[in-house]
């Protein structure tokens, strides 16, 4: 990465960053400490760890919603700030965050509208994305008329509006029930295969991380650090389907992540719980 001539450019390159929050009375909390991470183009990387391990902070730093205390972040070879200004990433949060006064189509069009795309192009792109997330019959509905899962699908469609090569997702399925959640995961896998975007995905759920990812980054709290990175070899995105959840390799990776999270092998590792 020191040689400027490297032809392969990382989607995300996090170099030795720390983030210290200073509270009142000088008390400081180290949310992230000396974190290094690279994400290749088209790669799906999950950040997993207990509350307070800094996984959301890391995502916010990549999104330039926050600035690191030390270290540097590059997104497609640019500073995080420049990448944000150039709209190199799409983002989705745990709350769908739709504007309640806009229809489904209107919400998906929002980023295009803000960046001056003309009306016809906006319409066309929104229709495409609405079909991609399977909400064709709901284009004219308002967010309060949709279920939580549908709202989250709209948010994902909105994050894809400008065809970003990087998606940043902060527990987007965290507030959904288990069944909806699994269906959304299947859809996300399909969408990622279709768009070829790299994804940084924050989650609490071990099976979710394993099912979706090429690599799972396991983090530990106080101070937030990367404990280990696990490569999940479960095949290409486009080949992943519902059956994957029943496979031996899936269970194996789930228990590996659990071991890493807890620091030791728990007894009865095969008793995989769904959350």
């Amino acid at each position: 990465m020191t040689t400027a001539a490297t032809p392969v450019q990382h989607a995300v390159e996090v170099n030795d960053i720390s983030r210290v929050f200073t509270g009142r009375k000088g008390a400081s909390v180290t949310a992230l400490d000396a974190v290094n991470l690279t994400v290749a183009p088209g790669e799906f990387v999950s950040l997993i760890g207990p509350s307070g391990c800094g996984k959301s902070t890391l995502l916010r730093l990549i999104a330039d919603l926050d600035t690191p205390t030390s270290g540097s972040i590059e997104v497609f070879g640019k500073t995080a700030r420049q990448a944000r200004i150039d709209q190199d990433y799409g983002i989705a949060f745990q709350q769908a965050g739709l504007l309640p006064w806009r229809t489904v189509a209107g919400n998906i069009e929002l980023p295009l509208e803000l960046h001056g795309a003309d009306k016809a192009a906006r319409r066309e792109r929104a229709a495409e994305l609405i079909e991609l997330v399977g909400l064709t019959d709901f284009a004219a509905h308002y967010p309060d008329q949709l279920s939580g899962g549908m709202q989250q699908r709209v948010a994902i469609a909105r994050s894809l509006a400008e065809s970003p090569s990087l998606l940043l997702m902060d527990e987007p399925f965290g507030a959904l029930d288990e069944m909806t959640r699994e269906r959304m995961q299947n859809e996300l896998v399909r969408i990622c295969a279709e768009t070829g975007a790299a994804v940084v995905f924050v989650t609490h759920s071990i099976p979710e991380a394993v099912f979706l990812s090429n690599r799972v980054v396991v983090m530990s709290p106080r101070p937030g650090r990367i404990r280990d990175v696990l490569s999940v070899n479960l095949g290409r995105m486009s080949d992943r389907g519902e059956n994957l959840r029943e496979e031996e390799g899936f269970f194996h990776s789930v228990s590996r992540v659990r071991e890493l999270l807890h620091g030791a092998a728990p007894t009865g590792a095969r008793g995989v719980e769904t959350r």
Binding site: L65, L99, W101, H115
Partner: protein, 291 residues
């Protein structure tokens, strides 16, 4: 909503009817000299002078204002005065809403402005109107350039706006700050500036806070106009009529009631106008319905 509309009108009409019945019932049952406990009158006198029948009020409104041959029917005089006051209130409301919004935007944009201005805004409402009216009139009288000269009705409108701007500035400030952190983050991710964020996010989000504030401002503007007309001594408005006709109560008990109903009418029209605005902005209040 459309299904319930006739029902709501019916309930409203029943409420007015109940009030009228209560009035007449007290006149019928209440003692003519009122109820006095230990030298204090706790219930009013029910005499014809103190509490005229509703039909007396109505009949009086249809009769000419005075005995002179040129006098117009009283309802006409009251209606003309109501329109006059409504016009002044409207000017006061528009000025008040504009100033209130401008202050709210300034305070939203600069935190420093909020801590500098907000206390003064709140303090401003503790100044009694009656103290303010002569000052405004005196200052206004000194304003004159070219063909423009300050007139008394402008002083009244200014005082009305002084009352009206308060709820708007407070409501708008709260409304502009109401979007979720999520939405604000999203706008930052989209790398759009303050103005675009204002137009696409903060203003639409503030509608739910703004509408009650506008309604309050309308009521305040009407009250401000009526009171300021009296304190400044402006002729032609409903405030002046209330004072003038009250003087006749001794011999003509039905007369003071007409301008009171006139001022109620002004208030209703003002509230109805804001209701009309909220009808157009219904889309932006969707969030309030969502679970």
């Amino acid at each position: 909503m459309t299904q319930r509309m006739p029902r709501r009108i019916l309930v409203g009409a029943l409420g007015v009817l109940a009030l009228a019945l209560l009035w007449e019932l007290y006149i019928f049952l209440g003692p003519a000299d009122g109820v006095v406990v230990g030298g204090l009158t706790v219930l009013p006198r029910a005499s014809e002078m103190a509490m005229p029948h509703l039909w007396v009020m109505l009949e009086r409104a249809l009769d000419p204002v005075t005995g002179s041959a040129s006098a117009v029917p009283m309802w006409q005089a009251v209606l003309a005065a109501s329109l006059f006051t409504l016009g002044i209130s409207a000017v006061g409301w528009i000025v008040g809403v504009t100033v209130g919004l401008a202050l709210a935007l300034l305070m939203q944009r600069f935190t420093l402005a909020e801590s500098a201005i907000l206390p003064w805004i709140i303090l401003s409402q503790t100044v009694p109107l009656i103290a303010l009216a002569p000052l405004v009139r005196r200052w206004g009288a000194q304003i004159e350039f070219g063909a423009f000269s300050w007139e008394n009705w402008m002083s009244v409108a200014l005082i009305a706006s002084y009352l009206a701007f308060f709820p708007v500035s407070i409501g708008a400030l709260k409304g502009l700050g109401s979007p979720d952190a999520n939405h604000v983050d999203l706008m930052r991710c989209y790398a759009v500036g303050w103005w675009k964020t204002l137009w696409r996010l903060r203003l639409p989000a503030s509608v739910g806070y703004l509408l009650p504030a506008l309604r309050l401002a309308a009521a305040s503007a009407v009250i401000g106009s009526v009171v300021a007309e009296v304190s400044i001594g402006l002729r032609g408005g409903i405030g002046r009529l209330i004072v003038e006709y009250a003087g006749a109560a001794g011999s003509d008990p039905g007369k003071p009631w007409a301008p009171i109903f006139g001022s109620i009418l002004v208030g209703l029209v003002a509230a109805g106008f804001v209701g009309l605005i909220s009808l157009f902005l219904r889309r932006f209040r969707r969030g309030e319905v969502a679970a």
